[in-house]
Symmetry: C2
Subunit: 128 residues, 2 copies
Amino acid sequence: MGVSSYSPAETAEKSGFSIDTLRYYEKIGLLSDIARNASGRRVFSDDDLAWLHMLRCLRGTGMPIAEMLRYSELARGGGETFQERLELLQDHDRRVEEQIAALRVQQEQIRMKIAYYQDMTACEIAPV
Amino acid sequence: MGVSSYSPAETAEKSGFSIDTLRYYEKIGLLSDIARNASGRRVFSDDDLAWLHMLRCLRGTGMPIAEMLRYSELARGGGETFQERLELLQDHDRRVEEQIAALRVQQEQIRMKIAYYQDMTACEIAPV
DNA sequence: CTGCGACCTGGAGCGCGCTCCAGGTCAAGC
DNA sequence: GCTTGACCTGGAGCGCGCTCCAGGTCGCAG
């Protein structure tokens, strides 16, 4: 069972965001209500980590900060906003799908080039 | 049969790069020996378009400009550099593969969230 | 001969997403 | 009591990859 309370350094390590980025995200409103201890230092909870994990998925799949901001505003809005959050994620999912498809197509071209160079270097190594 | 000679505007349209980007690429050395007509305007050939297509694949799969520069230096080096070009592309291909795999994993998480919201909104629409 | 529009150049500016810095606070260890 | 080190703040700076701008040239249509 985890401790359910994490220092900035631990949170950075677990979330994959740097401490600076965590502070930045709090500043711009991607992270809200991060607890503080008596001396004003941030104390992250398991919920915060779960939220950071979600942010990581969104960023990692190319969602711009502005849209993540929209999503976190919705998340603060409670159950009223489930439908909107759903639509936002579905739109994003579609873009991710397109992104992967485009990568595959371009990767295929690159692999054709690789095959070409393999032929070329094979010729050099064992000519005629 | 194509005309095999293209204005900057045509080239931009066909390659998907903006005219400004084409100029920028020439300036930094990603494009070399672009022909000029009598009045100093760029004239792109089918070879140039093929090269731009390759650049598009590389950029589109996330290769940084610095590495594309390395690749174009090698390309200028002739047959001597096939082996190096091959290795560069193979390394990149591996990174693209990892990138796609990472996208898939994160997409899966997002889809779990989508499923969750779908349950939630289903409940709201038809409660109890 | 004039106007227009596509093009040229060098260089400044921009948007994004962090990343770094100076100067300060606090708690624990020696 | 003093040092150390993790943390705090507001704000400046940065790297990347373009994108835009001012001022100029050229060739063709009217």
